[in-house]
């Protein structure tokens, strides 16, 4: 295995593009090292992107959004304060991943590129409308988070492409987000179902919403029917029931020891309702 720590994303991309074997990018390494260790994936080329300028920075953009470097850890996100006040759903979703030790290393980008349908931060990012800057041999392009995963362990990134920044949109007024997951214990587990909701209000009425479900299909889903079920409503009982029905209808889960198809399908609806209520309360400026 060759190890490189390039000084720029262009260089990282060129290294990956020129590689003939298995290539992995190394940020926090909490998945890459486990795969290396268990002989699941032994890269011929490992490209450590942490020596690139700015990869550990959390920056407010001129428009009021956020740019996160690709090596920003979960712990750094949780400690930031202002980021968590804007986007508590994203920060809480990231914080659910692994232990204190894992939080010290794990990144949003790694969670996404690992390609797990149960990745906790991904539904929260999709609900929030987060995009990625992707650097490739032909320059940079911007991609929505939901367009990255293509199946368990697979992404749409082409050879030589590397994610070079995480772009979180401006939160704006009267808006809130939330992420909830179901696990059979209180800590240190993988989502059986996850749900991210982000919405905006005008008065009491929802005027924008995005709802995303994790661990109920081969990829994390952006469920437009869920958004349609609550936009234009005040999140009354009928809207919540329609939301739950749309969430359950979108599920195409696997049956495994952690949750049956029936269980996951039902819980998706329950979590969608609860996450929507939290996001709604946050949009109203209430503590939730």
């Amino acid at each position: 295995m060759n190890y490189h720590s390039p000084a720029s994303f262009a260089e990282a991309s060129a290294l990956a593009a020129a590689s003939t074997g298995v290539t992995r990018f190394l940020a926090g390494g909490t998945d890459v090292l486990v795969q290396l260790r268990s002989d699941l994936v032994t890269p011929d080329l490992l490209i450590d992107i942490k020596k690139i300028d700015g990869v550990s920075k959390i920056t407010r953009t001129d428009e009021g959004g956020w740019t996160l470097g690709v090596a920003v850890t979960g712990a750094e996100m949780s400690e930031h304060g202002e980021l968590g006040r804007d986007w508590p759903g994203i920060v809480e979703a990231m914080d659910l991943i692994g232990s204190t030790q894992v939080q010290g290393r794990a990144t949003l980008t790694g969670n996404l590129c690992n390609g797990s349908p149960a990745a906790d931060s991904v539904p929260a990012m999709i609900a929030a409308g987060v995009t990625l800057t992707v650097t490739g041999p032909d320059g940079d392009r911007v991609v929505a988070v939901e367009d990255i995963p293509t199946g368990p362990g697979r992404t749409s990134l082409a050879k030589g492409e590397v994610i070079s920044a995480v772009n979180i949109p401006p939160r704006g007024d009267n808006a809130g987000d939330a992420y909830l997951r179901f696990i059979p214990r209180t800590e240190m587990d993988i989502a059986v179902v996850g749900c991210g909701v982000s919405l905006r209000l005008e008065g009491d009425k929802i005027i924008e919403a995005r709802v995303s479900l994790g661990a109920v299909a081969p990829t994390v889903l952006l469920v437009e029917d869920c958004a349609a079920a609550i936009v234009g409503t005040t999140l009354d009982e009928a809207a919540l029931e329609a939301l739950a029905a749309a969430a359950s209808a979108a599920c195409n889960p696997i049956d495994d020891k952690r949750g049956t198809i029936a269980f996951r399908t039902d819980v998706a609806g329950v979590l969608a309702k609860r996450a929507a209520k939290i996001a709604y309360a946050r949009a109203k400026g209430e503590n939730a």
């Binding site: 190394l26 926090g28 390494g29 090292l33 290396l36 204190t100 030790q101 290393r105």
Partner: protein, 159 residues
Amino acid sequence: MSKLHVSTKVNGDAVEFLCDPRETLLDCLRDKLNLTGAKEGCGTGDCGACSVTVDGRLVCSCLMLGVEAEGKEIATVEGMAEGEELHPLQKKFIEYAALQCGICTPGVLVAAKALLEKNPNPTEEETRYWLAGNLCRCTGYDKIIRAVMDTAADMREAS
């Protein structure tokens, strides 16, 4: 590829070693620097027996490569005592018998020290969540949690 040269600081001392890029920081600490306090339990970041701090941040040394230690400051359990004088956490762990086989103990101590540096007055719930990544199959955790909480109280009083 030949071995890579790494310069880093461990427990305040400048150290250098040569390592294969596949070797973890844990491998390097144990096999090259003879610091065998950090243990390999699972090797996959689940058990916390290999906990160390890197630039003050608690991490699993099995989930970090040795080459990534270049230019960093590493702290392990071997650096906790000041000469013969044990750290208050170490004393309390002995007093409370907050260990049995001891495999998890170096990791628990490093993690608990990191907690108290960040939060000198943690609640029991905060302590349990912070240490959720340090598995112990002997004690049932109660003695560990009590030892950490009481050390925190002693250290607050002393400061």
